[in-house]
Symmetry: C2
């Protein structure tokens, strides 16, 4: 298998067949994910598999009506977790110091790395995936639904299933912009972004029969011109994370 | 290729042969990484390849004497990047709102996901990898070395090269602890951690001919009982990130 080509061909899948995923395979995929590198062996990741249809429906709704959360063969919530390490710290007679920004960075990074390793495993066996960042629309509700303790934050959901669609690959920014040599030389970035804007305009045109006229810059303006999820700081601090 | 087995067999590699990596292959691996999922297509990742031996030596030193930063065939710094999106936002006539915690979470997550997809690509072609979280020992110096603008933070380094060692796979916490069903039920965690402590004690014993007697709990106590990288909060805020 040409894994490099497989990964270059990634598309998010939002429509799945009814085919279930064997529990053994799902567990194997999660185990592959959790075998990835982890900072200082902290293993700051907890995965919660949600099967209950009512919980799934509640998550789909709070994520902004993402119905594939309900219809995917398997759905997992990936949490940045310092709680378990704090328990271990106390088991060893130590005193856990909560709230360090660095510890949150470690746990969030660990969690994303583990999730993407699971995604690579899943895609290699023909499954499709979709990350659900929309669970951060209401992390307090997620915390209640999943019974999360202090020092744990839900980072994203992950739908897994056998694809029932074959979407086009979304173009990415040119490497001339995203891969730099030696230093952050941004002299070519505006030209690179302009070229990408035109590429994305053509991509949207083709996918919508000319109905959508959008560029990446316009998308960024819509995204970053508003206070995205302004509750996140207080939510994380309320969980005892990312405070100091 | 059995990718699931490959990923379960991950070990960090810290000793590399002299064999170089073709630039074309390195670029292909980074491209595979940057093809991974990204939140709202933000693409909050910039990769900086460092070839200059002096810069590599400076990074190896600030990372705590990690000499493989110098000896790996290729070395990359992965940055969480909102700067480029802010530029795009302004190009589209929008007004970028800096400092949102959520935007930092998006960029850091994007960056870690892209890096791990690159790692999967690299490992699939026989390369070994080692993440270098130690660059966060001195992010201000990294910022100076790489000329990073506001809204960009170096998250970790990544060494790539052909392995010249064959280390054992480090055991992970049992899935009974890290993969939960429906809710965060921690009733089995202490027993799971105790079992893992004994497994890690045996692992260290075997690797050091009985010289090291350590458990995971003790490692967590050493790590979390001190104020790890207490500069991170101010550093990130100084870059205009993770403020509100």
């Amino acid at each position: 298998m040409d894994v490099v080509a497989l990964l270059k061909g990634h598309r998010s899948i939002r429509k799945f067949t009814d085919q279930p995923i064997d529990d053994e395979l799902a567990e194997s995929i999660i185990r592959a994910g959790l075998s990835a590198a982890t900072s200082s062996n902290l293993q700051g990741t907890t995965v919660i598999r949600v099967r209950n249809p009512e919980t799934r429906a509640a998550i789909a709704e709070l994520a902004g009506g993402q119905t594939y959360v309900e219809t995917a063969a398997a759905f997992f919530v990936w949490c940045a977790d310092l709680h378990r390490s704090a328990v271990a710290c106390e088991m060893a007679g130590g005193e856990f110091r909560p709230g360090m920004t660095e510890h949150f960075v470690i746990a969030a990074t660990d969690c994303a790395i583990a999730a993407q390793s699971a995604v690579c495993a899943a895609e290699s066996v023909g499954l499709g995936i979709c990350y659900i960042g929309g669970i951060r629309n209401d992390p307090a509700k997620m915390t209640e639904l999943l019974g999360l303790p202090d020092q744990v934050a839900p980072l994203f959901g992950l739908c897994l299933g056998y694809p029932d669609q074959d979407p086009a690959i979304k173009p990415r920014l040119p490497l001339s912009v995203t891969l730099k040599e030696e230093t952050y030389d941004e002299s070519g970035d505006v030209a690179g972004i302009e070229a990408y804007d035109e590429q994305m305009r053509a991509y949207y045109h083709e996918r919508t029969n000319g109905k959508i006229d959008r560029t990446w810059s316009a998308d960024m303006s819509a995204l970053l011109g508003k206070e995205s999820r302004p509750h996140m700081r207080d939510y994380l601090q309320g969980q005892g994370l990312n405070k100091k």
